[in-house]
Amino acid sequence: MNGSSDVLTLFLFNIVLVNIPLLYGTVGEILTEKAGSLNLGVEGTMAVGAIFGYLAGCATDSLLTGLLTAFAAAGLCGGLFALLTVTLQANQNVTGLTITTFGLGLYFFVGKGLGERWPAMTDVPALVRGFTAVEVPVLSRLPVAGKALFSHNVLVYLGVLIAALAWWYLNYTKTGLRLRAVGENPAAADSVGVNIQLYKYVHLIAGSGIMGLGGFYMALNMSGSFEGSNCWINGYGWIAIALVIFANWNPLLAILGTLVFGFFNTLQIYAGALAGAFPGALGWLNALPPQMFKALPFLITAVVLIATSVRKREGPGQPASLGLNYFREER
C-alpha cells in the first residue's frame, strides 16, 4: 500500500466513524416526525443521552449499561416533550428549543459538578473494549472498502441496523402504517380507532432514545474527555434535523444522507492531507477557504429542499400534520 491510498482509506474510514451519530439523530427524529411531532430538541436530547450514558457506562464498566442508560435518559427527554406537546398541547417548536436548552444545561451542570470525580476512559477497560473496532469476516479484507466500511465498532453496525429496522417498520408493519397515518391525518387515524396519544408517546420516547444512543457514541468517540466550554454534540443535533429533510423522511436514505454530509464534514479536516496525497488531482483543495467546507452541508440541504419542493406531491415524505397538535374535540 502506498501512502496516498492510505490517506484516502483513512478519510473514508473517518467519514463513517465520526458521522454515525448523525444517523442515530436522524433516524430518531424521523420516527418522531412520522408521528406528526417536530422535536427541535435533538441537540439537547443527544447531550443528555451522552453524559448519562457515559457516566453509567463508566460506573459499571459496561457498554450495554451505557447504551441502555443513554436510551432511557434521552427517552425521558422525549417523554417530557410528549407530556408538554401531546397531553398539555404546548407549542412544539418552543418546547423543542426548551429541550435543547435544558439538555445542554443539564450536561454542563452534571459535568462541571463532578469536577475531579469525572471518570476517565482509561479506568474502564471493558467499556473501551466494547467500543473497539470489530472486523466483519471476509468483507473487511476488501481493498479500501474493507477498512472504510467493515472495520468499525459495534455501534456503527447497530446504527445501520436501527435505520434498516426503522425503514422496515414504517413500510411493512401495521403499526408503522398507523404511525404514518397519525403524522399525516390524526383525525382520520383517530376515527378508525388508532390511539393517537399512545402512538405519539411511544414513538416520541423511542425516537429520543435513539438520538441518545448517538450522543453516547459521541461521548465514547471523544474518549470521554469533558471540556467545560464545548459540548460533545457540537451541533450534530441540528444537522440531524436537516438530514431528515435531506432523507425525505426515509431511514434508508438517512444512511446515504449521513455519508454525504459526513463526506463534507470530514473533508474540512482532511482537505490538507488529501491535497498533499494527490497534489495533481486534489491540490486545488488547499486553495479553498476552510469555512467553505463548513457551509457546504447546509448549502446541499438548501439544494435538496428546492429539489423536493419542485417535485411536489408524490415525493416528499413530510407528514402533512407535522408540527400540529391534535385535539379530538377541536371544532
Binding site: 391525518n185 383525525a187 388508532v194
Partner: protein, 524 residues
C-alpha cells in the same frame, strides 16, 4: 318479542362552554330502517352524531346500543359497537392508497402489512357491490370515490349502524342515485342508517322516518310517508315559509363582463377551462352548472385576477382586465366570493373577528399606518344587521360562527364594496333552507340594483329557480347556455356529463357571444 332499537339516545345534553349544542335530545333508529336527521345549520345534528361516533362525550343522558346501555368513550369504542360514521369532511389519509386507508383500522390479520392486502380489499368491495381500485391514492380520487371508500371502510369494520353526515352535498344527481341504491341495499341487509341532509326531496325519497331538530332540541319524529316538504320545513324552521325561489324580472343592460375564448390551466398544468365564451349583463343572474371540478374554481380565480390565463379575453365594461392585479380588478367593481368545500378556506381569516375580516378588503383605503377599526366595526354592524347574522358580537372570531353565518359575512363584505359584477361560487354550500333563502334574497336584491351575477352552483333545482340563464360546463368546455325557466333537469344533467352539446344549436348565434357585444369596441 318487542322491537329492539339499534340505537336509542335518551335525554342527551351537550354544552360547548356556555352554548348548549344539544338540549335533552332523544332519538332512535331500528335495524333495517333509514332515519333522516333534519335541522337547520347549527341545530346540533352533527354534534349529536359525533357523540355516537365517539368524538364527543355527552354531558348527560344515556345511549343504548342494541338495547344495552353503553358509554362511548372514543371512536375505538364506537367501532367495537358496530357504529360507523361517514363524516362530512372525509377522514382519509391522502397519501395512502384506498387499501391502506381501510387497513389502518384492521385488527385481525396480524402485525405485518401483507402483500395481498389490495386483493383482499378488492374482493371485499366486490362482495358489497362496489367498484374501487384499491391501489389508487386518495389524493387522486374524485369526491364520489372518496365517499365510496369511506362507506366501504365502515362496512369492512363490520358496522351495523351507519351514520352519513351530509353525504349528498358534494355529489352530482347521478352519483346521488347511486348512493341511494347502496343505502337501500344496506337497509335490506338489516343495517340501521342515519342520514343527515338539508335537501328535503332527498329526505322524502330515501328515508323511512324523519327526526327533526331545532336549536339543539328534538322537535319530534315524522313518518316519511306522511311528510311533505312544506310540513318538514315548517317544523324545522318553526314557522310558515314559502318555498318558491324568487326570480324577479329586471331590465337588463349591455354586457358588463364578457369572456371570450378563454383558456386556463389548473395547478397540475392540465386545461381546466377550454375556449370558453360567455357574458353577463347587469340585472341578470347567470348560473354555471357542472360536475364538481369542471373548471369552476379556475374560472372564478381567473376573473378575480388570482390565476393567469393562457389565451382569451376578459372585457369589463369595454376595458380589458386580463393581467390586472386582483386589487385593480376589485376597484373596477368585480367582486368574487368563493365558498370552497371546507367552507372556510378562501376569503375569510377564520381566527379574526368579523370586524377584522371586514377590514381585510379595504384596510388600504385609510391614510397613515394605523388601522381604522371604527369604520370596520361600523361596517360589521351594518352587515350583521342587514343580513341577519347571528353572532354574539362584532368581535367574535369568524370560525366560531355557524356555517350559514360565516357565508353571510363573506357575501356581505363583497356586497358592501358595491360591486357591479358579483362572482359567487357555492354561496349556499352546506346551508339549510332558511339560510339558503336568505342568501337568495341577498342576491336578488343585488340583481334588482343592476348588478351582474355569476352564480356557480350545485343544486339544479335552485339554479333553475334563481338564475335567468344557465351555462353548462363539462370538462372545461361550454356545452351550451340555456334559459333557466325553459330547461329541464334531465337536459342539464345530460349536458353536464357531455352527452348533449347545445353550444352550436343556433348557427347564427354561437353560445356565449352577445349580439350587442362591446368587444369590437376594444382596442386590439
Amino acid at each position: 318479542m318487542e322491537e329492539r332499537y339499534a340505537i336509542e339516545m335518551r335525554g342527551i345534553c351537550k354544552n360547548f362552554g356556555r352554548v348548549a349544542a344539544n338540549k335533552n335530545v332523544s332519538l332512535n333508529v331500528k335495524p333495517g330502517e333509514i332515519l333522516a336527521l333534519l335541522g337547520e345549520n347549527g341545530s346540533g345534528k352533527t354534534t349529536l352524531m359525533n357523540m355516537l361516533s365517539g368524538i364527543y362525550k355527552p354531558d348527560s343522558g344515556t345511549i343504548l346500543v342494541n338495547g344495552q346501555e353503553t358509554v362511548i368513550h372514543s371512536p375505538e369504542d364506537a367501532k367495537r359497537l358496530g357504529i360507523g360514521m361517514v363524516h362530512q369532511h372525509f377522514k382519509l389519509v391522502d397519501v395512502f392508497s384506498a387499501a391502506d386507508n381501510i387497513w389502518l383500522g384492521d385488527e385481525h390479520s396480524g402485525p405485518l402489512l401483507k402483500k395481498n392486502r389490495c386483493d383482499v380489499i378488492r374482493q371485499m368491495a366486490q362482495k358489497f357491490g362496489f367498484d374501487i381500485d384499491p391501489q389508487k391514492k386518495v389524493y387522486n380520487m374524485a369526491v364520489s370515490e372518496k365517499q365510496t371508500l369511506e362507506i366501504i371502510k365502515v362496512l369492512y369494520y363490520g358496522a351495523k349502524i351507519i351514520i352519513l353526515d351530509e353525504p349528498t352535498a358534494v355529489l352530482t344527481v347521478q352519483e346521488i342515485d347511486k348512493l341511494f341504491a347502496v343505502l337501500r341495499r344496506m337497509k335490506a341487509e338489516g343495517h340501521a342508517i342515519i342520514i343527515i341532509t338539508h335537501k328535503l326531496n332527498e329526505v322524502l325519497e330515501i328515508s323511512d322516518r324523519v327526526a327533526i331538530m331545532r336549536r339543539g332540541e328534538s322537535i319530534g319524529t315524522v313518518d316519511t310517508a306522511q311528510a311533505t316538504e312544506q310540513l318538514l320545513t315548517e317544523r324545522m324552521v318553526g314557522r310558515k315559509v314559502t318555498l318558491n325561489i324568487d326570480c324577479p324580472t329586471v331590465e337588463k343592460t349591455r354586457p358588463l363582463l364578457e369572456i371570450r375564448d378563454l383558456t386556463i390551466r389548473n395547478d397540475e398544468g392540465a386545461t381546466a377551462i377550454d375556449h370558453v365564451s360567455f357574458y353577463i349583463r347587469g340585472g341578470e343572474i347567470l348560473g354555471v352548472a357542472g360536475i364538481a371540478g369542471c373548471g369552476q374554481k379556475e374560472l372564478c380565480e381567473a376573473i378575480a385576477g388570482l390565476r393567469p390565463i393562457e389565451t382569451g379575453m376578459m372585457i369589463h365594461k369595454g376595458d380589458n382586465i386580463v393581467g390586472l392585479s386582483p386589487k385593480a380588478i376589485l376597484e373596477k367593481g368585480i367582486s368574487m366570493s368563493f365558498i370552497p368545500e371546507d367552507r372556510l378556506g378562501m376569503g375569510l381569516a377564520p381566527s379574526l373577528s368579523i370586524t377584522d375580516n371586514m377590514l381585510l378588503k379595504n384596510y388600504g383605503e385609510t391614510k397613515g399606518p394605523f388601522v381604522d377599526r371604527k369604520s370596520g366595526r361600523a361596517a360589521a354592524e351594518q352587515v350583521i344587521q342587514e343580513l341577519e347574522i347571528v353572532t354574539p358580537s362584532t368581535e367574535t372570531p369568524v370560525r366560531r360562527l355557524s356555517g350559514g353565518n360565516v357565508q353571510k359575512v363573506l357575501l356581505g363584505r363583497e356586497i358592501k364594496s358595491g360591486p357591479n359584477v358579483l362572482i359567487t361560487a357555492y354561496p349556499v354550500r352546506g346551508l339549510d333552507i332558511h339560510s339558503s333563502y336568505a342568501i337568495y334574497d341577498i342576491l336578488n336584491r343585488q340583481k334588482k340594483d343592476g348588478v351582474g351575477i355569476l352564480f356557480v352552483g350545485e343544486d339544479l333545482d335552485v339554479m333553475m329557480g334563481l338564475c335567468d340563464k344557465i351555462l353548462v360546463l363539462c370538462h372545461g368546455k361550454v356545452m351550451g347556455v340555456v334559459h333557466a325557466h325553459k330547461t329541464t333537469k334531465e337536459e342539464l344533467g345530460l349536458m353536464m356529463t357531455g352527452a348533449l352539446d347545445l353550444s352550436s344549436k343556433y348557427a347564427d348565434k354561437p353560445a356565449g357571444i352577445a349580439r350587442d357585444s362591446r368587444i369590437e369596441e376594444v382596442e386590439p
